[in-house]
Symmetry: C2
Subunit: 201 residues, 2 copies
């Protein structure tokens, strides 16, 4: 479980365009420049010649389904405290995407899932994240709030609180899901979410 800045930075800013001051290898000051043979600025340590790369992070999550209803979590952490989301969080080293999505569902909603199927791959370039969302059957009807959730509930489509969803990617995933559910055909959706011009983040 992750109660720290790690998970609370999902769609936040704390891991975005991370500013590096010192070399994590030798402790000397880093500079920002384009390394030889490269085409974009990196944090470079001139003392030990280490180039420090920063790359997008994967956020893996589920649409947990139980008897025609799906499970949403009300966030107990910032950003978007109090708003509803699908269980999702940063993939960890050493796991697969499915394991990450399953773990996050267990941590945030205390729910176990099976028959997990990739459903959405959504890039969010301005915050350097790629969401990988899976459809999944809940193994039992049991769930309860994990430490990062105020509440966890099963919803039918007409019960969804569309104005109280935490993130655009959650809305997009749910819109695809309910549209595809009518035909019982669930292709993998690939898309991008761009910054809303009126606000940052």
């Amino acid at each position: 479980m992750l109660l720290s800045a790690h998970n609370s930075s999902v769609q936040g800013t704390s891991q975005v365009n991370f500013q590096m001051n010192y070399c994590s290898n030798c402790g000397k000051r880093v500079t920002e420049r384009i390394p030889e043979g490269d085409d974009r600025p990196r944090h470079v340590c001139e003392a030990c010649a280490t180039v420090h790369y920063q790359n997008p992070k994967i956020v893996a999550g589920c649409i947990p389904v139980w008897k025609d209803r799906l499970l949403l979590c009300r966030r107990a952490i910032e950003p978007r405290h109090g708003l509803w989301t699908l269980p999702a969080g940063f993939m960890e080293n050493g796991e697969s995407t499915e394991q990450a999505a399953t773990r996050e569902t267990r941590e945030e909603a205390c729910a176990t899932v099976e028959n997990i199927e990739l459903y959405g791959v959504f890039s969010i370039p301005h915050i350097n994240q790629v969401y990988m969302m899976f459809r999944a059957d809940m193994s039992t009807g049991e769930y309860q709030p994990g430490p990062e959730s105020l509440d966890v509930q099963l919803f039918e489509e007409h019960q969804i609180l569309w104005d109280e969803l935490a993130f655009p990617v959650v809305r997009l995933t749910l819109e695809h899901y309910f549209r595809d559910k009518k035909s019982d055909h669930f292709p993998v959706h690939v898309g991008n979410i761009h910054q809303h011009p009126a606000r940052q983040g």
Copy 2:
């Protein structure tokens, strides 16, 4: 273009289980411990209270197709110098998965692609990478080796040098592709590649 350790560490070890000695924020020594509310060891700076997370990286690439043949690159860099691969490399901050795959194809094979479609999502937990492979049509029949390639060639299925492929994920992607090509039906494949017991990496 990336001639540095960044790209050459695809399926290599230089970014894997990265050892951090100093805090990149304040330059003090870090310790390795489980932070409060967390459940796994992280690099933690006791001086400035920063927790340094490490997460899997996305490697995005293409199967570039031109008139019933597909494009492979012969690697000019380690690891697997001299072996054949699909154009692929680390996704950069600020881009989408499709943009990353398109860029890598341009950099490694000097080829432009269109009609890009997600085809494979392959987790490689032991090296903390997730490959995202796309099928794509080459816009023209033009290609040539980029700085990271010794050679670039179009191959029909019977011409593939199966014993000279650089990485298991390339073999897996091509096996799926030629199987699906028989029915002209290309579902998105999700899978995991685990460490070969007989060797590291």
